[in-house]
């Protein structure tokens, strides 16, 4: 009998037949590097996403934001609390619907969002340096098909 501990190298070959296994590993690498990159401006990935979408969609409501980013509403609250506390975003009552808040970025928020996009672009250029633009487009197109199929 083959004894892995002594005769063979232990490996994950059996799992490498699956696309999902490779995708999870690649996604983990991207995520770890982006998290490290955004630490420089004291943002987490999720707070960065929220800030950037608010800057790109000023005046949107929390529920719209939650839908756009597929975040549960309760989890959005503390994220916005933090962004508001840091004067990057403001919650202002919507006159026509007193239940809702309109989310708008402050000037500091717009500035930090621009910096965050810049850092994220640099991060991707770094991590994806071995993959040219055409290949990146292929990659995105294939993943988009997975998302669309679901």
């Amino acid at each position: 009998m083959v004894d892995a501990a002594t005769e063979d190298a232990v490996d994950d070959a059996i799992l490498r037949q699956f696309v999902g296994y490779h995708m999870r590993r690649a996604a983990n690498i991207l995520q770890a590097d982006l998290a490290r990159t955004l630490k420089e401006i004291d943002l987490r990935m999720i707070t960065m996403s929220v800030l950037v979408v608010i800057v790109d969609n000023p005046g949107l409501r929390q529920s719209q934001l939650a839908d756009a980013l597929a975040i549960e509403r309760p989890n959005l609250v503390s994220i916005l609390d933090e962004l508001e506390e840091r004067d990057l975003v403001s919650r202002t009552r919507v006159p026509t619907d007193r239940r809702a808040y309109a989310l708008t970025p402050t000037q500091a928020g717009e500035k930090l969002a621009a910096k965050a996009l810049e850092l994220t672009a640099e991060h991707e250029d770094r991590i994806l340096s071995q993959i040219n633009l055409e290949e990146r487009a292929q990659l995105v197109a294939l993943m988009q098909r997975i998302v669309d199929g679901a």
Copy 2:
């Protein structure tokens, strides 16, 4: 001023420029479907991975397994406890090193691992039905390059 809440559709267009955003969404979809699939045989993704690697590398030690799957040793303990409790895997002392355990699958473990691989393959065929084999190979090759570059 454009008001997103009333005039425009709120979207995540600003984030779609990034490969990582698409990858994370695609990976989440794969993960959710696989988790649902494996529930049928009462395995989580991580326990399935551990079981399958043990079947493919009988006799390996816990630290080798942890290295192969990039799992921290403490987190492996409860996973193996569960697999042992369910009589899918056995921990047996290594005679030449009484600190170590050799991990071997039971017959039931081998059988369940085969079933798990079958279910996982079905899951991928389902989720990736819009992507042919050549494209899947491209996808894997590109993600492999990301992993190798890190």
